[in-house]
């Protein structure tokens, strides 16, 4: 009973997600700053690390405005739902050698499906906002999600086929340097699809500030805005954790196994993501569609063939 409470509210539950959000948000800012020739957060706390905490708590306590004419139920329930759905995948990820909070034979399936639901919730927030820009943003979220989830699922399927299991714990246990090399193309596809799913440059089309004024976020403020941002950072966590568990051996490391290694691997993914963010302009919706369906999806199908071939050749 107590263990379940700790799982749900401390680790890997709510508190962990909050700490992760504050930490990752600060890291994004602090790492981005020198790339921009800036200093970044500086004054509050060591290296400005309290800054994000203050920003989030400020958002949290501000007035949440619900515009006239919207379906206020849909408008307010969606941010909450987005956070809850975003938190769930953490339960099936094997964070430490002692296994995940919720053991399941189908934990990979649970992970990708829960990640896949998130964009539909964002679409509904845009749909429920009664704003032309939010609506356009919502449509864009949906378009992008459909385009990238195919490649994302196919890339996540590669380790499952290779190790013959849908259980993340089994995949992590069986992983080795050899499997890492064989799954490297799948990892690359997963990473590109991750940029699309998380709406990161060059695929930050749904919430493009200069085009659709942050898309589905336009009408949100205060607590609701905080919840939507929180759900995005929690989604970052789930997707990074998926990358760590599927391809990089999760908690496995040199000299010792443990959460530290998992954390470092997730940070490494974040570093690459931010560096791309600092140097790549946004592409258009049409270019994104063409890229996804003409290149990414066919390549991820070919990659599946390669994984099956490699399994038959080296591991039968």
């Amino acid at each position: 009973m107590l263990g379940t409470f700790i799982d749900a509210f401390v680790f890997p539950g709510l508190l962990y997600a909050l700490v992760w959000t504050v930490g990752l948000f600060w890291f994004f800012r602090k790492f981005m700053a020198p790339l921009h020739k800036r200093v970044g957060p500086y004054f509050n706390g060591p290296h400005g690390s309290y800054q994000t905490l203050f920003d989030l708590s400020k958002l949290w306590t501000k007035e949440s405005i619900t515009p006239k004419g919207v379906n206020s139920y849909l408008f307010s329930i969606m941010p909450l739902l987005a956070v809850v759905i975003g938190l769930l995948p953490a339960a099936v990820v094997p964070w430490t050698p002692s296994g995940p909070a919720l053991s399941s034979q189908y934990s990979l399936l649970i992970l990708v499906v829960l990640i896949g639901i998130e964009p539909f919730l964002f679409f509904l927030t845009g749909f429920g906002s009664e704003n032309k820009y939010s609506f356009l943003g919502g449509i864009r979220v949906l378009t992008q999600a459909i385009s990238f989830e195919t490649a994302f699922f196919l890339a996540a399927l590669a380790p499952a086929l290779f190790f013959g299991s849908l259980d993340l714990s089994v995949i992590v246990e069986k992983s080795s340097w050899g499997s890492f090399l064989i799954l490297l193309p799948a990892f690359a596809i997963y990473f590109v699809a991750l940029l699309g799913l998380l709406e990161q440059p060059p695929f930050n089309i749904p919430d493009a500030e200069q085009e659709v004024v942050y898309g589905f976020l336009t009408e949100y403020s205060g607590t609701n805005y905080f919840l939507l941002n929180l759900s995005k950072f929690v989604e970052f966590m789930a997707v990074f954790a998926g990358a760590g568990a599927l391809y990089m051996g999760a908690y496995k490391g040199i000299f010792f196994d443990g959460y530290t290694w998992f954390f470092l691997k997730m940070v490494a993914v974040a570093v690459v993501m931010i560096t791309i963010r600092a140097a790549t302009p946004r592409i258009t919706l049409n270019q994104m569609l063409a890229f996804s369906w003409r290149w990414l999806v066919p390549i991820s199908l070919i990659n599946l063939a390669w994984v099956l071939l490699a399994r038959a050749l080296f591991f039968s």
């Binding site: 790339l35 921009h36 020739k37 800036r38 032309k132 820009y133 356009l136 449509i139 440059p201 060059p202 930050n204 089309i205 493009a208 500030e209 200069q210 085009e211 659709v212 004024v213 600092a278 140097a279 790549t280 302009p281 946004r282 592409i283 258009t284 919706l285 049409n286 270019q287």
Partner: protein, 551 residues
């Protein structure tokens, strides 16, 4: 050059004129006897090659009861220009003239502006609505000499109910026009949109596809052209420099040249070189923002911050010279405002060193960025012929491959002694415009190096006295006169048309023709049929500043 200035004179021969005179080496000036011939003149000019209308500038003369119309025709390829004047009655009922927009498309918005500000009605204009003024404006035309602010406010208050009624009617018309079951809608792109600046683009779209764009301007209208008439000739520079803060030096240079022409004053070579030097610094400061802003429209802010880092050093130079980083007020009729402390040259050298050390990185990461090029080289395409017909200028014009640059076509300041060439890029797409602005940054640095060397040599040899030569005296009262001056501003051609009365202490009329006006005018043609994602990029590539758009 096959086409000569004589051709322009010949084209004017068949019309009844009061005079045709050589105004400047590249300018003819003529006055028509009858305003009815203006369309025929425009056709003759077009046939001769003067296809662009720089601007229309009415001058209001209430004592004589006339409105004097000034048309400035330009040939951007062979560098010939013609200033055509004619007179129409100023009585609001009869203040009419034929529109030349059907012949010369670049006149479209200029005629709308003349209509809004002076009440000149243009017959046969395709779209004669108020520009800059709100569509529900009631009252007298604001730039007329007999405009009375108190009476105007009273009149507005009397019409409050009508204004509200019109506003509601417009909203209802919008709703009725759009099919409630369809996916068409009107997006208000601005004036508070993150990428718009203070301008409102009424974008009619079907989902992501654009059906039409109608720019509505006037959100930062400061009536600068009217403001200068309330200041003396020196004080007017602070209004002129506010054309746009990014390149304020060159606009002041243009105004001061017009004042000096009427006063008959020749400035010293030292002051000319200083104007060149400061002008290029201001151009760099503007282009740095321009290239940064281009990328901002695609959601990438890194280059802007890198550019600002370099730009600071150039602003330091302006600050050390004039005391201000942005609104410098450093150019004055008669020369430049302050004597030169030669320590400034060390500071300038630091800025140049910083530029040379950074520009390579910016070029590798951003100017050659494949994602940007892949996206930007497909949109916003303007052919050379279109660019000329629409009256585009500056980097936007040169990106379409047209060799036109006022610094070379009609050299002012010390540009006749500077080694430089046209920076042109063929292609005319958004990517080419970025490329042109980027290349011009390097060109400006080369010019600064030449100017710096020349000033240092001149001071060393005793030819220039930096503590005295910066100014020659310009009388406080000017004779009656009229002058036109052109400068190559960072964004393109700025034309100043200055009119003074006898013993005037302040300008009677100053028309500032600024490039963003035409660049915004063509947005609809560039964006129709494209998608919403292209709006910020095309708009950003046109290098528009709302400051000189509204004035």
């Amino acid at each position: 050059m096959s086409k000569s200035m004589e051709g322009v004179a010949k084209a004017l021969e068949s019309f009844e004129t009061e005079y045709v005179e050589n105004y400047k080496p590249t300018w003819f000036k003529a006055k028509l006897k009858s305003p009815d011939e203006i369309v025929a003149v425009a056709e003759a000019m077009k046939a001769e090659g003067l296809r662009t209308l720089s601007t229309v500038s009415p001058t209001d003369w209430p004592e004589e009861g006339i409105m004097e119309m000034n048309y400035f025709f330009e040939d951007l390829e062979t560098k010939r220009n013609c200033w055509v004047k004619c007179e129409i009655p100023r009585d609001p009922e009869r203040c009419e003239i034929d529109s030349i927009t059907p012949v010369v498309p670049s006149a479209e918005w200029h005629e709308r502006e003349a209509y809004s500000m002076f009440g000149v009605r243009f017959r046969n204009h395709p779209d004669l609505r108020y520009l800059i003024l709100s569509p529900d404006y009631y009252g007298k035309f604001p730039f007329r000499a007999d405009f009375d602010m108190a009476a105007h406010e009273k009149e507005q208050l009397e019409h409050v109910k009508e204004i509200v009624r019109d506003f509601k009617a417009e909203q209802e018309a919008n709703d009725a026009e759009l099919d409630p079951e369809g996916s068409e809608m009107v997006l208000n792109w601005g004036p508070t949109h993150p990428a718009s600046g203070p301008i409102r683009l009424k974008v009619r779209c079907d989902g992501e596809d654009i059906l039409g764009v109608d720019p509505e301007i006037g959100y930062v209208w400061r009536a600068l052209e009217n403001l200068v008439t309330r200041k003396d000739f020196v004080g007017a520079i602070v209004a002129v420099e506010r054309l746009c803060f990014m390149d304020n030096i060159n606009s002041m240079t243009g105004y001061c040249m017009a004042v000096e022409e009427i006063a008959g004053v020749e400035i010293t070579p030292f002051a000319k070189w200083m104007r060149t030097l400061l002008g290029e610094i201001a151009r760099i400061s503007s282009h740095m923002m321009g290239t940064g802003n281009f990328y901002n429209t695609m959601g990438l802010h890194t280059i802007m911050l890198w550019n600002l880092d370099v730009r600071e050093y150039f602003l330091d130079v302006l600050e050390s010279y004039s005391g201000a980083r942005i609104a410098t007020a450093a150019i004055e009729p008669g020369g430049v405002r302050y004597p030169l402390d030669m320590k400034l040259m060390d500071e300038l050298q630091r800025a140049l060193d910083k530029f040379d050390a950074t520009i390579g990185d910016i070029e590798t990461v951003f100017a050659k960025n494949p994602t940007m090029r892949h996206r930007a080289r497909k949109i916003g395409k303007i052919s050379a012929q279109e660019a000329i017909d629409w009256g585009l200028s500056g980097p936007v014009l040169r990106a379409s491959g047209v060799r036109s640059d006022v610094r070379l076509d009609e050299p002012y300041a010390a540009y006749d002694q500077v080694e430089m060439d046209y920076v042109t890029v063929p292609g005319g797409t958004a990517a080419d415009r970025f490329q042109t602005i980027f290349e011009e940054l390097k060109q400006s640095v080369k010019i600064i190096k030449q100017a710096k060397k020349r000033i240092e040599e001149g001071v060393a040899s005793g030819e220039f006295d930096p503590s005295k030569d910066h100014m020659v005296k310009v009388p406080k009262k000017l004779p009656a006169g009229e002058a036109v001056s052109r400068v190559e501003w960072a964004r393109g051609e700025v034309l100043m048309h200055l009119v003074t009365k006898e013993k005037a202490k302040s300008p009677y009329r100053l028309k500032m023709r600024a490039p963003s006006f035409n660049h915004t005018m063509v947005l609809d043609r560039l964006l129709r049929g494209k998608t919403l994602s292209d709006i910020p990029l095309v708009f950003g590539s046109m290098y528009v500043c709302q400051g000189d758009l509204d004035r």
